[in-house]
Structures are given as structure tokens and as C-alpha cells.
Amino acid sequence: MPINHDHKTANALEIQGVGRRFGGFWAVKDVSLSVRPGERRAVLGPNGAGKTTLFNVLTGDLAASAGTIRMDGADVTQTPMHKRIKGGLRRTYQHAHLFDGLTVRETLFLAVSSVAGGWQRFMPLKPSDGAIGKAESLAQMSGLCSDLGREVANLSHGQRRQLEIGMALAENPKMLLLDEPAAGLSPSERPRLAELLLSLPKDITIVLIEHDMDIALRTSDSVSVLHNGRLLAEGSPENIMSNEAVHDVYMGGAHGH
């Protein structure tokens, strides 16, 4: 594995001058960020600010058009997605495409064995399989204990979000990229999600895109604001709340729809 771990000195995530171009249009341009190990970072910005594109570049879904990405000190700019996953990176998706025909247990089992290996086995699973035990503890962490046997198609929207997070937690991730985990949740489901995020192990670095200011500010240590593909501001939640430029841009966009 090409990723070189140097926990003491390196930031969990360090990007410099990262950009992504579609034709002549830069969706993300010249963004530099550093995130400490264990930090909770919220990425805010109006629609079209380039947040999800930035995530896609971080995970390797999209190649970076410019700049470098380092994780735990190692340059992963050219590393394919599945190797970044092996290195401890996980993400959730804004629009949850889940395996509707499988049960919660089976889905989490696949999430575990995709990283730990073993998905290629073609003999029937034994209940005592180690990966099943891990899947069940993931369900515990994501609050889906009582839904292990349910088909994913029958889950509520909030439960699908929880399952997303449960999948991302498989095999001790180092860093989670959460893309709008609260999107589409009802007001009553939101506090529960915030609690789930706060309950996640403190050694996991989390970068979070979120429109819901309450959740974003409550669960994060620091905030980066993107606008038109560029970094507009960075700081503690309190600083950002009082930043006028952010106010102009972000409040106009976020509550405009």
C-alpha cells in the first residue's frame, strides 16, 4: 500500500491548490485545506459551490485537475478509490443508493467484507462468520440494532441515512466524508442524526457537508465555506457565524430554496 502513515506530524487531510475542471468550467478551483486527526470539519456553501465535487475529488470518484491531496502525510492524488478506501477513507452519498433487495445485516456485512476482504466467497454464510459479528456491531453504532433483518427497501428515510453512516464505519475508518447526512430528514429525525454523529468515536476525522446549520455547527470543531468553487472563509463556528462575507453569500443561498 503506497500510503505512508506518519501520525505524529501529519495532518489527517492536507490539500493544496486542488481544482477540478469540467470543460472550461472550474467546479472547484485552488482550494487548500488542512484537517487535523480527529477534527470535525464542516464544509458549507450554497448550492453549486463545489462541495460535492470536492468530495468526489477527495475520494477518487473524480480525478483532480490540479493540486495535491495528502492523507496522513501520504500523497494520494493519483491513488485509485479502492486503495484510498483500504487506507481508511469512507464516504456517504447525498442521494443514498443502497442495496434495496438486501437486509440491513447483509448490507453491513458487504460493507465490512468489501474492505476486510472475503466478498468473493461463494459458500453459504455461517451465522458465526466474523464479518457478521462486525456487521451487527456496526448496526449497534448506527442505531439499527432492531432492524438487522429488514429489507433496505422497507427502511424509512432516516434509517437509510443511519445505514449509510453504518456502512461508512465498517473496518475502523480513519476519515469519514459525510455528504449532507441530514438531507431530506424530517425535523424530528434531525436531532437523532446529530446525536449519532456526536456519538461516533473521537479518533475518526470527519469532514461534513451540511445545509442544516444547526447540525453543522453543533457537530463540528471548525468550518470551511466554499463559494463558486473557491474557499471563502475558514474558522471556528462562532467566527464563521459572525463573518459578514459568509453571511451575504451563504444565507442568501441556503435559505433561498
Binding site: 479502492h82 443508493h97 468489501s114 468473493q120 466467497r121 461463494f122 454464510l125 456502512m167
Partner: protein, 320 residues
């Protein structure tokens, strides 16, 4: 386990049926059911309708014909305990190759590409003389003898067919609960997401097709023993469509559907000509098939299930 019990009534047939009903109706239905099962498997768990299942069965059949006893002076004879594993390997391999070619295709495109492969194979067998003996194909193919009894004798043959059918059902039901089987279903539901959790989809799709080839191959071996011959006709458009019709009328959602559909198909195919003016018996077959498809979009199995569930007043939530 449960679904293999469905075959229990078939196991009772030898007690009251004559040889014709035993082999020509129930035996043939089960054989076609096995081949259709491979299609149902792909449709239900990979979400792809394949037209190449008769082709995979044909690969196994041709292997048995080429390396087994035949009367056309083509091929070289080898002992059956070598030929049978070889035929299964060839069928599995053919499934894998077809899967590799069709791996990026879905829906109508998967249908087109598998159909093209099936038709290409048909023409290939018709024009190749060294391995397939062209138009004429192979005749005089005999099932092996064990302890002096030919496996093609009605009762042993029928019991063998039941055994293989049950094994195939068990294989399918076990396989879909295996990690690879679950991954196949995950590819069906959200292929991009499978990639996103770090599993490449090509080997998953290829192995699903290969497994379908394995199932189709076991049906193909029985079929060539049943027909005692194989030629380009056996892998032509007729059998290709028959298998599809069987799978669709049986229901594409559950493996058992393939066997129900096959029994309905064989009964119609054999007796429709007795029931109606012979100039119009194909119309009758067509109308019945149409009625099944319109009246039961989920096939006969789906229809039976919805009828059963009306009698059982059990909340469906408990069925996990």
C-alpha cells in the same frame, strides 16, 4: 432447503405415471426447468435478462456429444467421468465469457447482446464441421451405464433428473446467501455503490454469468442424454425463445418459477395439438401464454403465491 421441497410432488410421479409421463412430460419439464432456472437466477439476482442460456446448455451438450459415444465419426471418446466435469467446466466457462462480453449491458441492451451471442453460436455450430458436425450435428449419443443399467432407462433417468434439479435449486438458494451471491444482488440494486465500497463489478457480473452457465450446463447434459442427439437446431432461436417463455410464464422473481413454467410449457407443447384444430394449435399456445403474462405479471409462481397469501392471514412483516 424449503424450495427444494417443492420438488417433492415430482418425486412421487414414478408411483403412478407411465414411462411417457415420467420422462417425456415430467422429466423433460424438469430438464427445461433447470436451463430456465439459470435465466431466472440472472434475472432475479443480477437483474439481467439473458437470451444465451440455451447456448450455455448447448456448450455442455456439445461437449458430451464430442467426447462421448456417438454415431457420426466426429470427436474422440473419453470415459464419462472425465467428460462430465469437462462439460460442466466448458459450460461455466462459456457463461463467464458471455458475462465478460455483456458485463456493461443492462435491460434491452443485455437482451440484444446475449441474443446476438446465441444466434452467432447457432450459425457457428451449423457451419463448423470439425467440432460441431455442421447442420447434421451429433446423433446416437448415449447416457453412461452404471452397474449394467443405462442412466437413460426411464426410472433411473427420471430419478437422476430430480436429483440434479434439487441440487440446482439448493445451489442457487445457497449461492445467493453467500458473500458473492449477496454482492451480485448488490450489483443488481446499485452497481455504482458497489464500486464505491471498493468492490470491482466486473468479476461479480462475470461470476454470476459463470454460475448461470454451471446451472445451464447441468441441464444441457441431461438434455443431450434425453434427446440422444444435438445439432444446430438445439441451440437455435426456437430453444432460446422456449427457455425465455418458460422463465417468464413461471415468474422471474423466484427460482421455483422456472420449474412451474417448464411444466406448463411442456404440457401445452405436447397436448395443444390434441385439443384444437391442428392448424391453429400454435395460436392456442400463444393465447395461453399471453393470458398467463397478462393475468399474472409475476408469472405462475407469483400468482400462486398471491393466492396462497390470501388464505394465510399472516402479516408479511414477520417474513424476514
Amino acid at each position: 432447503m424449503k424450495s427444494a421441497l417443492f420438488l417433492l410432488p415430482f418425486a412421487l410421479v414414478p408411483f403412478f405415471a407411465n414411462d411417457f409421463w415420467l420422462v417425456q412430460i415430467f422429466g423433460r419439464a424438469l430438464i427445461l426447468g433447470i436451463i430456465a432456472l439459470s435465466l431466472t437466477f440472472l434475472a432475479a439476482y443480477l437483474g439481467v435478462v439473458s437470451f444465451a442460456q440455451a447456448t450455455m446448455a448447448g456448450v455442455a451438450g456439445y461437449t458430451v456429444a464430442y467426447f462421448g459415444p456417438n454415431t457420426v465419426d466426429v470427436g474422440r471418446e473419453m470415459p464419462f467421468f472425465v467428460v462430465l466435469p469437462l462439460a460442466m467446466i466448458m459450460a461455466t466457462l462459456s457463461g463467464a465469457i458471455i458475462g465478460l462480453i455483456a458485463r456493461r449491458s443492462q435491460g434491452i441492451y443485455a437482451i440484444m447482446i446475449t441474443l446476438a451471442i446465441g444466434v452467432a453460436f447457432f450459425y457457428f455450430t451449423r457451419q463448423n464441421y470439425n467440432y460441431f458436425n455442421g447442420w447434421t450435428g451429433f446423433s446416437g449419443i448415449r447416457a453412461p451405464e452404471i452397474a449394467g443399467t443405462s442412466l437413460r432407462e426411464p426410472l433411473p433417468f427420471y430419478l437422476l433428473i430430480i436429483l440434479v434439479s434439487a441440487l440446482c435449486l439448493l445451489f442457487v438458494n445457497g449461492f445467493i446467501k453467500s458473500p458473492l451471491g449477496l454482492t451480485i444482488q448488490a450489483v443488481r440494486d446499485a452497481p455504482k455503490r458497489v464500486l464505491a465500497i471498493g468492490i470491482p463489478t466486473t468479476p461479480v457480473i462475470v461470476s454470476a454469468y459463470a454460475f448461470a452457465g454451471f446451472i445451464a450446463g447441468s441441464g444441457g447434459i441431461l438434455n443431450v442424454w434425453y434427446q440422444e442427439r444435438i445439432s444446430s437446431f438445439s441451440v437455435g432461436l426456437g430453444p432460446i425463445v422456449d427457455i425465455l417463455v418458460i422463465a417468464v410464464i413461471g415468474g422471474l422473481k423466484n427460482p421455483i418459477g422456472a420449474f412451474i413454467g417448464a411444466l406448463a410449457f411442456v404440457l401445452l407443447d405436447t397436448f395443444a395439438v390434441d385439443f384444437i384444430d391442428r392448424e391453429r394449435f400454435n395460436t392456442l399456445i400463444g393465447l395461453v401464454l399471453l393470458a398467463i403474462i397478462m393475468g399474472a405479471p409475476d408469472g405462475l409462481h407469483g400468482l400462486a403465491k398471491s393466492w396462497l397469501s390470501r388464505f394465510k392471514k399472516r402479516p408479511s412483516e414477520n417474513q424476514v
